[in-house]
């Protein structure tokens, strides 16, 4: 701390120094990482909201029972486990030294309460809960989960890295009903939340939690020891990506979570700035149709859309023509996942306006406009609408593209009404790849009709297969089921994969030891003077 205050005093001589160009936020606060995140933090309940910034927030202040290593295998994090012979009962044991930020020890009862609350909301959690007969805290350190039949779901669920992750909070907090956002920020993670410096929508500060006891294994994905090597991490957001890039170049910030791909040339070759592509933080584009409204209640039309759309133009528009940061991919669960599959790859990846036209002619499409919702205020979604519209028009569809902010899309896509009453035919969005690579948890493939995600596809076979995936612990068997799901999803037009794009972190070259994981995490990171 001596250094810090010494530096700041030295640098105080104000305007003159500033005018001479000695502005350097980095030097003043050597032990602080200032990170510009993709979205501002405005709420603090990481369980009821699927907003990714809240997932990232969760990883700062909470810990998870298990965690995936870089290869995607569940590993112990807070707890280790044993499976009974019959594969039906899992016994978890918390490791020593775990305490909450308020000083209370973490107990099995806290875990049970937290997992219970989480599994009311999370899709994977719900599946797990439906298979589970019992979850009890045996003592302070131990809890058990018992299932009706052998399953690997417990490990998948408790190591779920993204979407809603099973963060462990004090039992009293976890008792909050899911209809009510929690306001507590007491976790047991490697950072603690500095409530006094929290400015919703502007910045959030995380201080190193000195009492945190990391695992001894080296950091590996989300697994391994979470060793914090800086004093604090400050998250901010900047509404203007130009500004954040300029700020990074002038040393005012250290880390930029999402770098606009088109601006990478500006920082390339700059020795002060490093970039890295994080495939696990990439996203899959998808197009969703409303199965309950004409014309997409008719599978022929959905087939026509699948054929009409091609992936490359959308990826080009998002990250640049021929960019290395994108990849056309036909697999429903993502090309980087173990469920990678090239079923009907050509039809999915490339546009076939003629084939699509032929189908439209066959069913006698009368030119009724397709209402496509286009979100304009999010950088990755903004390019999607015009590209989809252009491709559909090429194939003979009439498209009525309605531009609105994301809040309006989110509201309108929930409507099952007719077009005249505020309904819709089609929208597009992205999901992060870790969420996609999960046949149970991926909302884009759920096809249970009314209970399915917006668009409400109803393909009972898919639902049966998803349950089957959950009910087996055999990975090969799971892959087998997943491929069947993939085929059914494509053939029924449940969703149309539109390619993958990868996230690029840009950061000061002073930072080393960044972890490659499903979310941007700040343990293990060192900052050079």
């Amino acid at each position: 701390m001596l250094t810090k205050s010494f530096c700041s005093n030295l640098l105080k001589p104000t305007m003159l120094a500033l005018a001479l160009g000695t502005v350097s936020g980095a030097a003043v606060q050597a032990q602080t990482i200032t990170a510009v995140m993709h979205a501002p933090l405005r709420a603090v309940d990481p369980v009821i909201s699927t907003a990714y910034i809240l997932r990232n927030f969760g990883y700062m202040i909470y810990d998870t029972p298990l965690a995936l290593d870089s290869a995607g295998t569940p590993q112990p994090q807070m707890a280790s486990w044993e499976v009974s012979e019959d594969g039906k009962t899992y016994t978890f044991t918390l490791r020593d030294g775990l305490t909450f930020h308020d000083g209370a020890p973490v107990t099995a009862a806290d875990v049970v309460a937290s997992v219970t609350r989480w599994s009311k909301v999370d899709k994977t959690g719900q599946v797990m809960a439906s298979l589970m007969t019992e979850m009890v805290a045996v003592d302070d350190k131990t809890w058990t989960m018992t299932f009706g039949e052998p399953t690997g779901i417990a490990l998948i669920a408790l190591s779920k890295p993204s979407g809603l992750a099973p963060f462990i909070m004090p039992a009293s907090v976890a008792a909050t009903p899911v209809s009510e956002p929690i306001t507590s920020t007491i976790g047991s993670g490697p950072f603690k939340f500095v409530e006094a410096d929290y400015r919703p929508g502007v910045s959030a500060t995380f201080a190193k939690f000195e009492e945190y006891v990391p695992r001894e294994e080296p950091s590996d994905g989300m697994a391994g020891g979470k060793v914090v090597k800086v004093d604090e991490v400050v998250w901010t957001t900047m509404p203007d990506p130009m500004t954040s890039l300029n700020a990074l170049m002038s040393g005012e910030i250290d880390f930029l979570e999402q770098t606009p791909h088109d601006l990478l040339p500006v920082i390339e070759g700059n020795p002060d700035i490093s970039t890295r592509q994080v495939k696990k933080q990439g996203s899959q584009n998808l197009v969703r149709m409303n199965h309950t409204l004409p014309p997409f209640d008719n599978p022929k039309y959905r087939e026509a859309v699948l054929l009409a759309l091609g992936q490359q133009p959308m990826l080009d528009a998002q990250v640049g023509a021929g960019s290395e940061y994108s990849q056309a991919c036909a697999a429903v669960f993502g090309c980087g996942s173990i469920y990678n599959y090239d079923y009907r790859a050509d039809d999915i990846m490339y546009a076939h306006p003629d084939k699509a036209k032929a189908i439209l002619d066959e069913v006698g499409y009368d030119g009724t406009p397709i209402l496509l919702m286009h979100a304009t205020d999010l950088a990755t979604l903004n390019p999607q609408g015009p590209v989809i519209a252009a491709q559909l028009r090429d194939a003979g569809f009439t498209v009525d593209m309605v531009s609105m902010d994301w809040a309006s899309v989110v509201a309108r896509r929930a409507s099952k009404a007719t077009l005249a009453d505020g309904g819709w035919n089609m929208f597009s969005t992205t999901n992060v790849l870790p969420d996609v690579a999960n046949p149970i948890g991926f909302i884009g493939v759920a096809a249970g009709g009314d209970s399915a995600w917006f668009g409400w596809p109803n393909v009972p076979e898919i639902e049966e297969l998803r349950m089957a995936v959950a009910q087996t612990a055999d990975v090969d068997q799971q892959i087998e089921y997943a491929k069947k799901i993939d085929e059914l999803v494509i053939d029924n037009g449940v969703m149309v994969p539109m390619g993958e794009l990868f996230n690029v972190n840009a950061y000061s070259s002073k930072l080393t030891g960044l972890v490659e994981a499903e979310a941007p995490v700040f343990w293990n990171v060192e900052k050079a003077e």
Binding site: G21, R42, A43, A51, P200, V202, D240, T243, S250
Partner: protein, 313 residues
């Protein structure tokens, strides 16, 4: 005077009531609600219904309006639907950056525009006048974000004189505070310099045609004396008016400037709140702006009296 102030403050009440009702209705009739924004992109319908229930969003509109108005009447602006923080706390936190930016902008604009306008009036019809006037039209014609980008590029990136972005409170030291306000204030002040300089010029020219200016000259007053002792104070009323108007207009520029220079002010707060449908925050901020507007008008009226003894309250 006091009774005038009391009367004006009271007359602001129906205006603010009108604002409250208009804003409330505009927001509630818009698609999207905060529940979906809180629950995130993959939330299910049941989750949403539960959230709405707990946030009181499924009550009849009129009931919501009356509850809200009642709360305001008691000085309670509620909590942010998104962050759960008290709205007053959020707004107060964001108020200072905006206040600092607006104040420095207006001071800068007046400090530059007043002499420019006087010089232009003095040199009426000559090349200096034309230059100032042409420059002022250009000031109107370039969008503020472009001015902002160019200033960042030149003064922050190329010359490194000022930070690119951000805001530091005064408590962090005057240098830290001021250095971050220089570029945004300059960028934001352009149109107001243009506007105020024009008004100053026009009014000074008009006043210079008045009989009492002729009287002053007939007394043997110098041209400088005519300008400083007679013309400026008489031109002050419309100039004060336009400065008041400028402050009221500032908000649109503030929203943009805060974005470009990453200043965590009210403009950004309300913009983000609109995108997230955080009703309580939007309502409170707009009401705050309207209140400021009303009170600026009141202060302008009171200032009239300072400059013109004919005006009494």
């Amino acid at each position: 005077m006091l009774s005038f102030v009391v009367k004006r403050v009271l007359s602001a009440v129906p205006v603010l009531f009108m604002v409250a009702v208009i804003v409330f209705m505009v927001l509630r009739l818009s698609p999207g609600d905060p529940a979906v924004m809180i629950a995130g992109p993959n939330a299910t319908s049941e989750q949403l219904a539960d959230l709405r229930e707990s946030m009181g969003l499924n009550r009849p509109l009129l009931e919501q309006l009356l509850i809200w108005l009642g709360d305001i009447g008691r000085g309670d602006f509620g909590t942010s639907l998104v962050s759960g923080k008290p709205v007053t706390e959020l707004v107060m936190d964001r108020l200072w950056p905006t206040l600092a930016l607006s104040t420095s902008t207006i001071i800068l604009a007046v400090a530059v525009a007043l002499p420019l306008g006087v010089i232009a009036a003095w040199q009426q019809g000559k090349w200096l006048d034309r230059l100032v006037m042409a420059g002022s039209v250009v000031g109107f014609s370039v969008p503020v974000f472009i001015i902002g980008y160019v200033m960042i590029l030149i003064f922050a990136r190329k010359l490194g004189w000022f930070p690119v972005q951000g805001y530091k409170p005064l408590s962090a030291g005057f240098g830290e505070f001021a250095s971050r306000l220089v570029l945004p204030s300059i960028a934001l002040s352009f149109p107001y310099i243009a506007l105020i300089a024009r008004i100053v010029r026009t009014n000074v020219i008009e006043v210079m045609g008045e009989d009492y200016i002729r009287t002053a000259r007939a007394k043997g007053q110098t041209e400088r004396g005519v300008m400083t002792e007679h013309a400026l104070r008489n031109a002050a009323v419309p100039i004060v008016t336009i400065i008041g108007v400028s402050i009221a207009m500032l908000i649109s520029g503030v929203v943009v400037t805060e974005s470009v220079f990453n200043i965590p002010g009210l403009g950004r707060l309300v913009l983000e709140a609109v995108l997230a449908r955080d009703y309580t925050v939007i309502q409170a901020v707009i009401l705050l702006f309207s209140t400021i507007y009303v009170f600026i008008n009141l202060s302008v009226d009171l200032l009239y009296g300072l400059f013109d003894p004919r005006i009494r309250y």
